[in-house]
Symmetry: C2
Subunit: 456 residues, 2 copies
């Protein structure tokens, strides 16, 4: 019943099959061509390509959210679905509780414990007729037509759907698509290292660890080969790298000695950092963390990685470091999609801030209507006079919460639909209050830095 | 300490590096060439290739077990590690509780609940200096030299070890390597269908199911495409196929209606069987099962699959059946490795029995010394006058238990080492008593067939 009424509503809003779609795309190649999009949106069939067409005045307004991270998930959780339909397009259908990801690599936590399905965070996406989750990547945005282009993500799944393109019209559009792991252009990182940002990364690390533990037990393998297979190298001494190193050494002390006692003396952890570990923490906490890590058997190396090859990496002093598992965690930077967007960017300054979508103090993208950006993909514009906030869960989650309040308020004041919010008072600007930082270092020990700072 | 003493013992037993290994293999290509193996085993360095050499009289005898299924796991669990070293070579390091695998596909059970690491079943393999688990496949056996050839299994893991070959000398060798999913030579099965025998199969089915549920929600997809994506086809009406169909329909009734209500009316399950479903069960139970399945929405199709293509299969009456997920569960047959072994085989009769390693009433391979076979890879020789037992967990587990008792008894009587058991009384032969069969059909309903039969 629901499904068929949904279909009717799709049809009414101008959905068409693949033929119409390819016809549209043959004529209008460039996704950012305003003329083309406008022509498409105004074609006589309403749209002339598959997707969700604009909402009508009597219907709920549609908030389109790109991303299911800390920012997007909190936003969708708090949106008032009495007045809004929530449509989310993202390459994953769950939120990841990233600070606990390191613990899943070694079995301290189950993978499902750190992932929460979006449908549980915001049930409307699976139940309400006008709300949806689409497993898709946004490929372009047309702020004038108030539409985005999307393409399904199938992750190489054969037999599934061919990548399928569609458009979604929005009343409000929120970029919450996060950042990318930064490799600083170092050769071989993407091919050989594992990041630690998604559940499948943690699964891959766990799989490699256990596989190498088993392979190192095979008879006749040289001592050198064993040490290589069981050398876990972590590059990047931020909280993630430090926490993962701590978890790894816990795993070695607790589990490997018990369950892989034949090879327990061959496993080692090295943490490579170009500067200080945990540089954002107070100096005494940093020193404590370093001492704890060394005590747990982690080798701390100050160095810069120059090149990464399949079984070894090269430091800038020429030293070769053979490894069995390489985890890369040197922070994040703007994704190429975010960089490609036709919006002003937040000021660069550092590698990590460069290229983020610039927002004003209300987290709006000021050059266009009804577009917002929150979390790691966004940063305050220079004109706000505020510093770009760090790429932290704490910031993203707070921004999601703030923006939900703002949008709910706007909707209640009659500004929910596209281009109707200009006259509405949107309340106070976003103010970030840093509550402190925490990092575990293994063996049930952790650092807490409570020097409070009020930024923004 | 343990590791270094292990290394000493490996060296003493004649382990050598890859160079020596390749030298050996250059001269002696054929793994079954007795002359070559004997020459190798008697070469002046003891062995001249990597591996575990023969045990000495004062040491524990070594039982080499190939496989970690029902038969092998039960055997290793019960082996007396006071007198035996246990060495297991298998492509997976855990036992799978196969009857519950179907429940993990739809989230009723967690994957880890149905897999038990071998190191927990028999802790000696990770702790005792002479006991090991090797993640490796056996590639050949030399019964005269009492050695097997092995090659590590890395499952396409790049950056891990190159496939590594080694030999293991045995005092007792037990084939417990199971059978293979049978495809009856039907084109396209291996490429397009998922079996339901390993944890990764269940993971793959779950992944495809959830992916297709999400993809079917994408706007603009045709009704036909949606029905195809969400059509789950199960081929094979044995207990596995029936139980999986039941779990699937439970999943649809309970979870899909709730969590994917937009597309709930498009998902369907079809069970294809050439003959009767659950043919080994009593006729009234079969009828009850069929009724229950139909009631839960499963479409039962009597037909023979002729060809399997990426998104559809063709029945022998020409009917085309489009599918989104295809699960293949038409029983098992002897693996190509088992077929290649130079031992007499159990009588064929049916596809499922053909090519199993022939054993006598004590589960010994009679033509050679110290070699046994249990579980799905073995079958009684014609000379025993007994029927080949069905490929059931029940049979395999009972055989593992029996053989552990036999081997423990032999060891205590002084026959633990190679070629020393000829004079030892080995006790009563194996007798199989069927305790009954069970199959769930979903909705907390199950069949139990208690017609007892004493075979053997």
């Amino acid at each position: 019943m629901v499904a068929s009424s949904l279909l009717r509503s799709l049809t009414r809003r101008g959905c068409a099959g693949p033929a119409a779609f390819s016809r549209y795309y043959r004529h209008h190649q460039h996704p950012f061509s305003t003329a083309a999009s406008a022509a498409g949106a105004q074609s006589e069939a309403g749209w002339g390509f598959p997707g969700l067409g604009p909402t009508a005045k009597g219907e709920k307004a549609r908030v389109v959210v790109l991303g299911t991270g800390w920012a997007g998930s909190r936003l969708m959780k708090d949106l008032d679905t009495g007045g809004y339909d929530v449509v989310c397009a993202a390459p994953r259908n769950h939120m990841v509780f990233t600070p606990l990801l390191a613990s899943t690599c070694v079995g301290t936590l189950e993978f499902r414990s750190v992932a929460e399905p979006l449908a549980r965070i915001q049930p409307a996406v699976s139940k309400s007729p006008g709300s949806h989750f689409f497993l898709a990547r946004c490929t372009g945005v047309d702020p004038d037509a108030h539409t985005i282009d999307c393409e399904t993500v199938t992750d190489g799944q054969k037999d599934a759907l061919e990548p399928w393109k569609f458009k979604v019209a929005y009343d409000k559009l929120v970029f919450a698509c996060g950042a990318e792991a930064s490799t600083f252009g170092i050769h071989g990182v993407a091919d050989n290292a594992v990041f630690l940002r998604e559940v499948h990364h943690a699964q891959e690390i766990r799989r490699r660890l256990l596989l190498n533990l088993m392979l190192s037990e095979v008879p006749g393998i040289s001592e050198e080969e064993k040490r290589k297979l069981l050398h876990c190298v972590v590059v990047g001494g931020g909280p993630t790298g430090v926490e993962f190193s701590g978890e790894l050494s816990d795993f070695i002390i607790r589990d490997v000695k018990q369950r892989y006692s034949h090879v327990k003396d061959y496993i080692h952890v090295t943490l490579i950092e170009a500067n200080e570990i945990l540089s954002s923490f107070d100096v005494r906490l940093r020193q404590y963390a370093a001492k704890q890590l060394v005590k747990s058997g982690v080798r701390l190396v100050r160095g810069i990685v120059k090149d990464v090859q399949p079984n070894k990496l090269i430091l800038d002093n020429g030293e070769e470091v053979p490894y069995g598992v390489l985890v890369w965690s040197t922070g994040v930077g703007a994704s190429s999609f975010v960089k490609s967007l036709p919006f002003p960017k937040s000021p660069g300054g550092s590698f990590f801030n460069d290229g983020r979508i610039g927002v004003d103090e209300w987290l709006r993208v000021p050059s266009v209507q009804d577009v917002y950006a929150i979390g790691d993909c966004s940063g305050f514009l220079e004109s706000t006079g505020k510093e770009v906030l760090p790429a932290l869960a704490q910031v993203a989650e707070r921004q999601g919460k703030y923006l939900a309040q703002l949008l709910n308020h706007v909707m209640k004041a009659g500004g929910g639909h596209a281009t109707s919010a200009a006259e509405v008072d949107i309340g106070p600007p976003f103010v970030y209050k840093h509550l402190g930082s925490m990092a575990t270092v293994g063996r049930y020990k952790a650092l807490v830095d409570l020097r409070q700072s009020k930024v923004g």
